[in-house]
Subunit: 328 residues, 2 copies
């Protein structure tokens, strides 16, 4: 019997989950729930239902784990504590500063209903967090560095699109090679925001728009661009479509530290990702943790969990015996 997955929200992430289910034999897609009119949503999987989110509770006995694909700003703070009442759930809540608060509301609801809710699953938070933890557990004296990119930042692309005269835009976050190499060499540098990342913008302007003004508005935008070296390229709509339609991302988590009686030896631990599709990779992580949520709940565990609380073996379909033999 496979683990029956439900998906709430059918955007890039929801579609990624659907693809990831196809790659994992021990899970199956039971249904997709949407806020749109279900008859307007065309999915890829034969045999899976498409229902309105308003009737989600009716399906509680058909789904082992519900994967919540809403946004972190307004959807997940409400959805995760709400739906953990009926299902084991996994979300990719990524507002780092609000994780403690989200954890405690989900934990209370999950404990009351007897379910497992795993929050903040993906790559950052998620795999990057895990690697920060492992590296900190090992090298207790050291420094942490996280570099993102080269990859598309949806938030920054949206910020550019809101500028008057901009038709479309794509923003890439790019780590500064020199800074990255200095960290990898164990130089332990103190790096400002500007020294760590640059921002590359590809902008389609409306006809007759004032390009100099747009460029200036981008480069001086507080929080988003003002603290970075930013380059702006005006391109045609066709070029944007041809060369910038993917959603790649990635980055590196690095910890450098010392050991020895007098701290005489240096070490560098690096975890890095190079992803063609940010949402599909995130989805693949979510499916592995959906498997874990199901198994942990089967064993009687309840409450809110993060990637820190999940023993790695729960993530793999294979037996402990197989994993020890082939991967240890």
């Amino acid at each position: 019997m496979s683990i029956r997955i439900g998906i709430l929200g059918y955007g890039n992430l929801g579609r990624g989950i659907e693809c990831a289910v196809k790659q994992n034999d021990d899970v199956s897609l039971s249904a997709i729930f949407t806020r749109r009119d279900p008859s307007s949503v065309k999915i890829l999987t034969d045999g899976a239902g498409v229902y309105s989110v308003n009737e989600i509770e009716v399906h509680k006995d058909e789904i082992d784990v519900m994967i919540l694909c809403g946004g972190s700003a307004t959807d997940l703070p409400e959805q995760t504590p709400e739906y953990v009442k009926y299902f084991n759930v996994v979300d990719s809540f990524d507002t780092h500063a609000k994780i403690p608060e989200h954890f405690s509301t989900v934990d209370a609801a999950a404990k009351a209903s007897g379910h497992v809710g795993i929050i903040s699953v993906g790559w950052d938070p998620g795999m990057f967090s895990l690697n920060r933890l492992y590296a900190n557990a090992i090298l207790t004296e050291g420094s942490d560095y996280t570099f993102w990119g080269k990859g598309v930042s949806q938030g920054h692309s949206d910020a550019i699109r809101r500028i008057d005269g901009v038709k479309d835009a794509r923003q890439y976050t790019v780590p500064v090679e020199k800074a990255l190499n200095s960290v990898r060499n164990g130089d332990n540098p103190n790096l400002s925001t500007r020294e760590k990342h640059t921002r590359e913008c590809y902008v389609v302007a409306e006809e007759g728009a004032d390009l100099a003004r747009i460029e200036n508005e981008i480069k001086t935008m507080p929080n988003y661009f003002a603290d970075y070296n930013t380059t702006v390229h005006f391109i045609s709509e066709e070029e944007l479509k041809a060369h910038h339609s993917g959603i790649p991302h990635g980055g590196s988590v690095i910890r450098t530290g010392i050991t020895g009686w007098n701290g005489e030896n240096k070490h560098v631990i690096e975890y890095s990702l190079k992803l063609d599709s940010n949402p599909e990779f995130t989805s693949s992580v979510l499916i592995a943790y959906a498997r874990a949520a199901y198994r942990m709940n089967k064993e009687g565990q309840i409450g809110c969990k993060t990637v820190f609380d999940v023993a790695p073996a729960y993530l793999c379909a294979q037996s402990g015996e197989y994993l020890r033999k082939h991967l240890l």
Copy 2:
């Protein structure tokens, strides 16, 4: 109250553990056990005892976790199941092919005595294994690659030292940059042994020894060197001491894989280590897992575990709340 650590075996690894204890405030070194005459063993830590291994059981109530620093060939297969009778234990058993057998003897003894025994802890097996597992759980369709080095192989250095006319030697395992780059690019190459690593040997010959014969014996040695491109440098004893007395190591675990409805997107996950001191880094991993063994046993868990069975949060001294706030 700190976690009281015992060390069995005071070689490079045992000394590394002693240093790692100093870097972790929540653990303390209770005693070191040795097969040598205890009065001949000088340690660095004030207040820790040095005892003969023959009286190890007498100290069972003074030690929360015993870290076993013996070798995998003959020591650990006997020591781990033996001492888990009296202590929670952690070892760094690294004979990959014999892990299933070791797991089952340790598991039986640990369950009978009510202790936790965590085996095969370090970086390979250990952190590399963990990264293989996480990457396989996420990218279920893909290929695994492990590269080692640049680093000192003790086994290969010893093999050279056994050759007639060799006074001392140091062997470095070096990953082939071209192969590494091809894997990182996602080319998914099929690589032979020779294509993945080269072997660099620094040899101190006895006076008057036949250097051509030594070089030939090294390069044609089955299993150790015959399948590799090997270079041999004859150097003086002083040069060996000055430039090759460290025990650096490292390497990379890489998994490449695909996602998407038709497998259209590629991803690369890489975990890499650059270590000045192999035994000290391994020791730092062992201390983190000693903490986990203590906590898991406190919670009532018993039996043999590997890194796959340990939820990451157990490894850190900090609370779950702290970890979620600062590392997630």
